[in-house]
């Protein structure tokens, strides 16, 4: 008797699936989700702790830092942009040297403890911002690439 290859291959006998396999998979996934939630709570707690420590370290130096952290006015910014258009090199050099002077001024006013506090505050800030990235920006950034690869069954 002659058989068609594709028909035979598509209909080969196989040990049946255990009836509870899907349920076991779901249970493992639930355990995984609980683990992820616990990790997230732990990390958030640690970051909140860093924020509190950072604020505590920065608080005594805040009066000195306040003047250094005051933002420039809109007029000064537009004047700088105007200078950048006219003669870029001196404008950039002025901004760099101004930045260095500002950093020295800040270090003198807030002291080591204040700088330490700022670093402690920066860590959770960047962490929380980066957590937003994969779900928002990074997802859309990679989306076209992923879609085209997934069309062929790729990714992960």
């Amino acid at each position: 008797m002659r058989y068609e290859w594709d028909d035979l291959m598509r209909d080969l006998p196989l040990e049946p699936m255990a009836g509870d396999l899907s349920a076991r998979v779901s249970l493992r996934l639930q355990a995984q989700r609980s683990r992820e939630r616990r990790q997230r709570i732990l990390v958030d707690g640690a970051m909140a702790g860093l924020t509190v420590l950072g604020l505590a370290a920065l608080a005594p130096a805040w009066p000195g830092a306040e003047s250094s952290l005051r933002l420039g006015t809109l007029e000064s910014s537009s004047a700088w942009v105007g200078r950048l258009g006219l003669s870029p090199a001196p404008a950039v050099w002025g901004a760099v040297s101004g930045g260095l002077a500002w950093a020295r001024h800040l270090a003198t006013n807030v002291g080591v403890q204040g700088l330490f506090g700022m670093i402690l505050l920066a860590l959770p800030l960047f962490f929380w911002l980066s957590r937003l990235m994969p779900e928002r920006a990074r997802a859309s950034e990679d989306e076209s690439k992923i879609v085209s690869r997934q069309a062929e069954g790729v990714t992960a």
Partner: protein
């Protein structure tokens, strides 16, 4: 894609656990069939199915709801199987190139007769004895129902290598069935 699966997939990708569990219910039988054909026994297949779903959950944001879900899942499952086998012994997925030319001829096998069910049973046994990489390609093609392009993407192989693996597997099966006085396949 089934009607409503797009919405389900979108919610699953966003981290909706119950939506993901619905995908598990829908796709596990097909995934099991694929993995059982690749794996050496049922417990290994079940372990691979669970591992694949776990990886799919962890990497869910890489899945696009606009595309069919199963090829993506098959890719993950195939990688899980390869990782498991790599721990046991290395697999050769290299491009066979010119070395595979000897299998290019599709000569008809000798005529043998056998009842259809017996033929399928024997064929299934022989598939289980094939090299893992051939078994993988056969499973993706016939149990996973993927296209050649999807298989190539899932295994990270050139399309021609997929064709070659399939051809070699087919020839090996024919030869074994002939040797065993079995069945003619066309």
């Amino acid at each position: 894609m089934e009607p409503g699966e797009h919405d389900l997939l979108r919610r699953a990708v966003e981290g909706d656990g119950p939506a993901f569990d619905r995908l598990v219910l829908t796709h596990t039988p097909r995934l099991y069939r694929l993995m059982r054909r690749m794996a050496s026994d049922r417990s290994e297949a079940e372990a691979l199915v669970q591992e694949a779903w776990l990886r799919a959950w962890v990497n869910r944001r890489r899945c696009s709801p606009e595309q069919p879900f199963f090829p993506w899942l098959a890719r993950i499952a195939t990688n899980a199987a390869r990782d498991a086998w790599r721990r046991k012994r290395p697999l050769d997925f290299a491009d066979l190139g010119a070395a595979a030319e000897w299998v290019a001829s599709d000569e008809p096998a000798a005529e043998f007769r056998l009842e259809e069910e017996e033929a399928k049973r024997r064929l299934a046994d022989e598939v289980e004895r094939l090299r893992p990489e051939w078994r993988m390609v056969l499973a993706l093609r016939y149990d996973g129902d993927l296209t050649y392009e999807q298989i190539a993407a899932a295994l990270g192989l050139p399309l021609n290598t997929v064709r070659t693996h399939l051809r070699r597997a087919k020839i090996a099966l024919r030869k074994r069935l002939e040797d065993g006085d079995a069945v003619r396949v066309g």
